[in-house]
């Protein structure tokens, strides 16, 4: 670890803390916009109403929605890791029973020592496709999950590379931001599904009053932003995870001093075509490789940049190989 690397780690942790705060603020602000926007529209609707009718003067929607959003964010921070693990159906290894499980526990313990962080809790996802992810809020409360496929396909050294990659995410606090994002994306998607069912038949009964164009425009913007909410959340998730994978790969190489093992593990993960069915869209950006098996990640470009959660596997493997050969050359082998 050079001086520069440790500085980068510190900056990375700071950036992740800052981005998590930004994410939460943005989340609450978005709900505030939905709430207060709705209030304003309702206010404009009822402004010209007769004296005896209801006048919407206190922004109850805005206050309510902002409070709800803050509560959701708090809840997401508290239970995000559990929710992510639950959604993948992972089971925790408390006491290793088989040789495979014992090896996994040992490997994760070794890498935790190399990374200088406490040992995270270890989970297995019963899925034959090789993949892995980490979640948690900080190194003291972190979880690493690997699929059965990783255990079946990878050698001990390759498993080490994968575990070190995930511990890299833990150490530089990527897990906090990405778990928060997963939890909030999930919350938005859930609420959107629920409320759009309620909103759709929404009959505007006050046709005879002829709202002004301003009100109509506001209404359209408001509805559009409500419809776009899950898409925006999804795009956020995409943008956040791509660069991080390169960094976690580099940290894995730093912990194991064996970049070639991770390269061959990534090749095996890439080689297994099948999507990881247990890992749903909401947690895709947490994984070491895109669990949806989208071919977008096979090349880099404008299209892939905009839509893929993960950088091209070929490029990641090439970078790791480069590190590995440089290392061998240095040792004069």
């Amino acid at each position: 670890m050079s001086d520069e690397a440790s500085l980068n780690l510190f900056q990375q942790q700071e950036a992740n803390r800052r981005r998590t705060v930004l994410l939460v603020v943005g989340f609450v602000a978005f709900f505030a916009w939905l709430g207060f926007g709705g209030d304003y529209i309702y206010y404009l609707f009822t402004r010209d109403a007769p004296r005896y009718a209801y006048h919407h003067t206190v922004p109850w929607f805005g206050i309510g929605l902002s409070l709800v959003a803050a509560a959701i964010a708090w809840y997401a921070y508290r239970t995000g890791p559990q929710k992510v693990l639950w959604s993948t159906g992972a089971r925790e290894i408390v006491e290793p029973r088989t040789d495979q499980e014992r090896q996994l526990v040992n490997v994760v313990e070794e890498m935790a020592i190399a990374a200088g962080v406490p040992r995270p809790r270890i989970w297995i996802v019963d899925d034959p496709d090789p993949n892995a992810f980490a979640t948690g809020t900080d190194p003291l409360h972190s979880h690493i999950a690997v699929t059965q496929g990783v255990l079946d396909l990878c050698t001990r050294d390759e498993l080490q590379g994968v575990a070190a990659h995930e511990l890299g995410h833990v150490k530089n606090l990527d897990v906090r931001l990405m778990t928060m994002l997963a939890a909030l994306v999930g919350a938005v998607a859930l609420m959107h599904d629920g409320t759009s069912r309620v909103l759709r038949p929404g009959g505007g009964s006050s046709e005879e009053r002829k709202p002004s164009p301003l009100v109509l425009i506001l209404l359209v913007v408001w509805i559009v932003s409500w419809i776009l909410a899950p898409i925006i959340a999804q795009l956020l998730a995409l943008g956040v995870s791509r660069k991080r994978e390169y960094l976690a790969d580099a940290m894995s190489a730093q912990f194991t001093r064996n970049p070639l093992a991770l390269a061959s593990a990534l090749q095996k993960i890439e080689g297994a075509e099948a999507p990881t069915t247990h890992i749903k869209r909401g947690a895709a950006h947490l994984c070491i490789a895109d669990p949806l098996g989208r071919r977008l990640t096979s090349h880099e470009g404008l299209f892939a940049d905009a839509l893929a959660t993960h950088p091209p596997m070929v490029k990641r493997i090439a970078i790791l190989r480069g590190m590995g050969y440089a290392q061998l050359k240095q040792q004069g082998r």
Binding site: D99, E109, E110, A114, R257
Partner: protein, 194 residues
């Protein structure tokens, strides 16, 4: 404007002093902590070895010398370890001897199929691999942290506060020399009857 400028300079220098000092202290403690981690892993290894020796003893009566070497190296390492961080050079030498003795033992164990057939040895082998790795990675973390600490306290602006923070260059954990790193010699004449 004069006094104000002076005040600003003083504040900036003071702030830098605090940051540099605290940075060095943090690194110092990290280095000490990393050393403790090696210690924890070494203790684990020392506790594991008697089990390993007992498990293989019955089946390899005629490999006494290899086993003896392991036991002796282990006892020596336990003794040296009690000296604490000051004896880091001695400790690392004793541990390196133990590592190479263990490596020789594992190579010998590989040659006894009936030993490997019992699940016990498979597990012990995994435990031993893991323990060796844990020691190696703890050492790696210590060396990385200590190097960072040493570099920081010797580099120019920070070196000014090194005395104030009572910073001393930390000894690195020595990597064993090439002779020990080489593949262990196996005497083929002692090949077991299968």
């Amino acid at each position: 404007m004069g006094p104000l400028a002076l005040l600003i300079v003083l504040v900036v220098v003071g702030a830098w002093l605090i940051v540099a000092y605290n940075g060095l202290i943090a690194l110092k403690n990290q280095t000490l902590n990393a050393f403790k981690q090696i210690d924890v892993q070494l203790k684990r290894r020392h506790d594991l070895i008697p089990n390993l020796v007992n498990a293989v003893r019955g089946a390899m009566d005629f490999e006494k010398s290899t086993l003896e070497a392991v036991i002796q190296a282990r006892n020596q390492a336990v003794k040296v370890n009690a000296t604490g961080p000051e004896g880091i050079k001695q400790i690392s030498r004793a541990e390196n001897t133990l590592s190479s003795a263990l490596q020789r033992l594992m190579v010998v164990v590989e040659q006894y199929p009936q030993l490997r057939a019992t699940g016990n040895i498979g597990q012990l082998q995994e435990e031993l691999t893991s323990t060796e790795n844990k020691v190696a990675f703890a050492r790696q973390l210590y060396n990385d942290t200590a190097t960072l600490y040493n570099t920081k306290q010797q580099q120019f602006p920070t070196s000014l506060v090194a005395g104030l923070a009572k910073a001393q260059p930390a000894d690195l954990w020595e990597i064993e020399d090439q002779g020990e790193k080489a593949v262990p010699q196996v005497d083929l004449s002692l090949k077991p009857k299968t």
